[in-house]
Amino acid sequence: MEAISDNWDLYFRSFGYTVALFVIASVLSMIFGTILCALRVGPVKIMRAAATTYVTLVRNTPLVIVFAFFTFASPMFGLTFNFLDVHIGKFDFTEAFGAAVVSLTLYTSTFVCEALRSGINSVPLGQAEAARAVGLTFGGTMTQVVLPQAIRASVPPLASVQIAMLKNTSVAAAFGILEAVAQMRRFTNNFSSQRTEIFIFFALGYILLVLLLSFAASRLEKRWQVA
């Protein structure tokens, strides 16, 4: 027990990195995922094809490979995140963090896109036709009529996608970021006699974060419920 109780600061700091990774990648993946989705259902054939190819490729690639690409391969042809050098208090956001955010964002966006698309498919076709009939452009149809309804229908699958992403941040442990799982491994290495307690405490941390997220999602779902 001392492993954690003597080191609460390290414990919370590691979950701080987990949350930071999650929040940034979550926002970016929602934005990029929505754009991807709009491209996938849009009227321009080449964009549809490009977005479909991207989603198919990235969604079917294991996250570890995406991480490995941005950590080990992309620097070889000059794509690095060296410009990132932000230090806030005891938190350092440097190259590894940039690579992790990009990996998580690109990967999660594809799932966001598919979750939204399932929502769009739940909006009756007549809605879009009606929107066009009153003279709305594609952009107008999407932002005024289709997406607001689609997002409501997509809240549960989007919440699942984001919950999965929160847990996926743990992959960053192997790529130079001292987030919760990396810190857990430091603890188990230094205090191998307290393995069980350490595992339980880190599992509890994740459970708590996911519960908060599920709670927020269910509130949102209720608030946006239509009749």
Binding site: V64, I65, A68, F69, T71, F72, A73, S74, P75, M76, F77, T80, N82, D92, T94, E95, A96, A173, A174, F175, G176, I177, L178, A182, R185, R186, T188, N189, N190, F191, S192, S193, R195
Partner: protein, 297 residues
């Protein structure tokens, strides 16, 4: 061309990530190990009922080792067996049980840092020789005999770097393996420890300039410096003392005295020095005096 390089790099890093490090010519070392003959006097050497007697009777043993530390414990993708100093010491112990260290009676099990204690506790391996630092906390869970090697943490940097000690890297990022003792020491010295899954990945990040240096036991660094000659160098004095020992199960305390006996014998007959010379010698490390063994509790 650049793209092809990138694909190759992804492939290499993925292979590294799964623990099958394929590194150039390092595989040749496998044949260079000392030929250790199995003893044949096991009939009444060990006390009946002891773990050593059981192992000698069974003629089979499971040994935990590392596979990504050139010079200490290394196994290339095409190697039949691991090689390195840890492995040479393991061979001495195996041979003393009248088991042929070169035969298939020995099951070499890869033990990453995280699973050394669990593997010993679950009986998945009988011995662990995996750059296993002796610590008080580890001794609460498992037995650790030795040390058979005393090393200390140093710094590995690019060959053209001006850095010559860890003190030059205050506030800079220095990598090592996630969850290793080395990272704690890096932090204590004022640098920022960054963890990767394996040493080879950490070396890759030093080579591409993402991190300023890598730090862990000098013996491990020397192996990597030798492998990347002209690109990397080991600098600075050691800033920690690691006593590398042999792990065994706490349920079998009789193994401690036996391990110490075998180690003492090899210190005296030169087997230990020979093992050191052929595995760590090529990276420029002088053969030290054998360390003093901890008494068995």
């Amino acid at each position: 061309m650049r793209l092809r390089k990138a694909f190759a790099a992804t492939a290499v890093s993925l292979i590294a990530a799964t623990g099958l490090v394929a590194c150039g010519d390092a595989g040749d070392d496998a044949e260079d190990g000392v030929k250790v003959e199995a003893k044949d006097d096991c009939d009444d050497k060990f006390e009946a009922g002891s773990r050593m007697a059981e192992l000698a009777d069974a003629g089979k043993i499971n040994v935990g080792h590392k596979d990504d530390q050139p010079g200490l414990g290394f196994e290339g993708a095409t190697d039949d067996r691991p090689s390195g100093f840890d492995i040479e010491v393991a061979k001495l112990l195996i041979a003393d049980l009248c088991i042929d260290p070169e035969s298939d009676s020995v099951n070499w099990e890869v033990t990453i840092s995280d699973n050394r204690e669990p593997f010993l506790e679950q009986g998945k391996v009988d011995l662990v020789l995996a750059s296993y630092s002796i610590t008080d906390d580890r001794r609460l869970k498992v037995g650790q005999a030795g040390p058979y090697l005393v090393t200390g943490q140093q710094l590995l940097v690019k060959a053209d770097s001006d850095v010559d000690s860890i003190d030059d890297l205050k506030g800079k990022e220095v990598c090592s393996v996630t969850g290793s003792t080395s990272i704690e020491r890096i932090d204590e010295k004022g640098a920022k420890g960054v963890g990767f899954d394996s040493y080879s990945e950490c070396v890759a990040k030093v080579l591409d300039g993402t991190v300023e240096g890598m730090s862990t036991d000098g013996t491990i660094l020397a192996g990597f410096a030798a492998e990347n000659e002209g690109q990397l160098k080991v600098v600075g004095d050691t800033f920690s003392t690691e006593n590398i020992g042999v792990g065994y199960s706490k349920a079998e305390p009789e193994m401690c005295a036996w391990i110490n006996d075998v180690l003492t014998a090899s210190f005296e007959d030169g087997g230990w020095a020979k093992a050191f010379e052929i595995t760590l010698g090529p990276s420029g490390v002088e053969v030290p005096d054998p360390p003093a063994l901890d008494p068995c509790a």
